[in-house]
Amino acid sequence: MPETTLASHAIHRLEILGEDGDVDKALMPELSDERIVRMYEMMVLARSFDERAVTLQREGRLGTYPPILGQEAAQVGSASALLPCDWVVPSFREMGVHITLGYPIHRLFQYWGGDERGQRGPESLNILPICVAVGTQIPHGVGIAMAARYRRDPAVVCTYFGDGATSKGDFHEGLNMAGVFKLPAVFICQNNQWAISVPLKQQTAAATIAQKGVAYGIDGIQVDGNDIFAVYRATSDALAKARSGGGPTLIECLTYRIADHTTADDAGRYRTPDEVATWRRKDPLLRLERFMAGRGLWDDDVGRRVREEAVAEIDRAVLAMESAPQPEAEEMFTNTGATLSRRQIRQMEVI
């Protein structure tokens, strides 16, 4: 009758690929060499995209852009685990996910160039538009999962967001609802430890994001977000669990935002070069290269070739983006609703 313990909730962390390129064999997911190379290519492509986007912005050819540098493993690793039937609900800093899933790269450029047409992905890809209002996309993932289950579809929904987003009411309402309905949903937090200038410790007093799952009765796990195999494995496991009716999972990928928050930000105002340097050394791409080298899948030549192909693909995408015709003002009208009111028609004529 006195003070009793009702339950105890343990929070786990998964690591597979060490900084030296060695893997924990017991935990290593089954991945063919071909798939590993493919994942590597995607990471390089994502990084090349990112570098180009920053350059284009500096040249005035793109608008404000949020770099993904350092987060490629968390993005490519999780996206690589998805099936074509799955749905993705992104925030605004998962271009590595888009790229891995084959989202047309010129459309990504187009979007960051300030053009909605870049958000019209192909019908074959179930990716909701990039979401600028932090965290507000999370309930959409919940609704999609409810719909997929209602339809008896095998789809699982992967919803992405940052550490800052976990402070938003919509994170809470969404994850709680996912827990109640035991939905086929995976929530992936790219915990890059900063929300613009606010470090994780000022974002939440919780030691991990993973433990936030406890509040919703859903499993939470932390993975080394710079370890592509840990990310892949945690995501695969969560997807398999969700697909078989086991309910949602919250995956915290602990990683780091190496670059400024956006091209409009100067991170030098609020964090030390030392901290950034420490994390540069944990570069997820180098780590995968070390592993591949050990397995005979990588040397400088491979690196150079993959890089050149990526850059060529980015070149083509930039060309495609820049040769697209200007959007027409009518598009503002015809996309606001399926039909136009008389007032809108009149406004369209005047503009």
């Binding site: 958000q119 209002a133 507000t136 609704g143 999609i144 719909a147 309402e173 609802m177 606001t336 399926a338």
Partner: protein
């Protein structure tokens, strides 16, 4: 035909659309087991099951947010917010997402959802249970706003709203839920959105109103040569019907429950002042609640426009 009150008419629209179209489902607080706090969804859980009549946690933002996700997936969710005063928590989802998903994705995704919510005053309920903040939502391109004024149009408009390819906010005047009974077809039918209804014909003054104010207006104009327009759809509102009436009468009173400043009455008046001013013989008068916080029941009778105030405004105009 059957005689129905508005609760029954709305229930009938929901049941028929759910039976006709398996994309339609309901979600909200207490909509299932309890049948909704006003019994609007009574019997639907039993009939359609818990997968289609979903009792949610107490999370207005996620209710609308989840509906957006469902709609993007291809369903036709009908979300209930228990009272209009609690839609403010879902404003972000409505304005940032429901209203913009089509535009943002250039048509790749749309959000054909309906948000139903009890609306308006005169029921002596606790705070925030009598809001009429429709104008806020009428300022959101991409969302339609509808208010029925009786059982017949409630059923037809809700059916139209559910079938609409874009988001609709469906405001149900709480005071009318059980007040008015009408002949209502038992099968499904449409009352098209965007069209106002001339509730009473007249030649000397046009009174524009909607929702639960309408029957107050009809009482107020008794014995006067007044045309009464029931707006039905607030956004986009039926400019043509209003202008055509004003062209004949030359005098306008607009009546709404919401506070005066920046209410929908302002938009109607401004539209007339731009497009119909040459027909005007008198100032445009708005009869509305004063610009104060909506009071609790003891003062609500002093706050809501009543027949006397409306009558005075009409008489004042008839002197011009």
């Amino acid at each position: 035909m059957a005689v129905m009150n508005m609760v029954q008419a709305i229930n009938s629209a929901l049941a028929l659309e759910m039976a006709l179209d398996d994309r339609v489902l309901l979600l909200g607080e207490d909509v299932g087991r309890d049948g909704g706090v006003f019994r609007v969804s009574e019997g639907l859980l039993e009939r359609f099951g818990a997968e289609r009549v979903i009792d949610t946690p107490l999370s207005e933002s996620a209710i609308v947010g989840a509906a957006i996700g469902m709609a993007a997936y291809g369903l036709r969710p009908v979300a209930e917010i228990q009272f209009m005063g609690f839609t403010y928590a879902a404003m972000d989802q409505l304005f940032t997402h429901a209203a913009r998903l089509r535009s943002r994705s250039r048509g790749r995704f749309t959000s054909p959802l309906v948000v139903r919510t009890p609306y308006g005053g005169g029921i002596k309920a606790p705070e925030l249970h009598e809001e009429s903040s429709e104008a806020i939502f009428c300022h959101m391109p991409g969302i339609k706003v509808v208010v029925p004024s009786g059982p017949y149009c409630a059923k037809g408009l809700l059916t139209a709203a559910i079938r609409d390819p874009d988001p609709v906010l469906f405001l149900e005047p709480t005071r009318l839920y059980r007040l008015i009974k009408e002949e209502v077809p038992e099968s499904d039918y449409l009352v098209p959105m965007g069209k106002a209804r001339v509730a009473r014909q007249g030649g000397s003054v046009t009174v524009v109103s909607w929702g639960s104010m309408l029957d107050t207006v009809l009482k107020a104009v008794e014995g006067r040569d007044a045309e009464v327009i029931d707006l039905l759809t607030l956004s986009p509102f039926d400019v043509e019907t209003v202008l055509a009436s004003v062209a004949r009468t030359g005098r306008v009173v607009i009546v709404h429950e919401a506070v005066l400043s920046c209410g929908l009455g302002a938009e109607i008046a401004a539209t007339i002042a731009e497009e119909g001013i040459l027909h005007l013989r008198a100032p445009i008068i708005r009869v509305a609640a004063p610009d104060v916080t909506m009071p609790m029941p003891r003062l609500e009778g002093r706050y809501l426009p009543d027949a006397a105030r409306i009558g005075r405004a009409v008489d004042q105009l008839l002197e011009y």
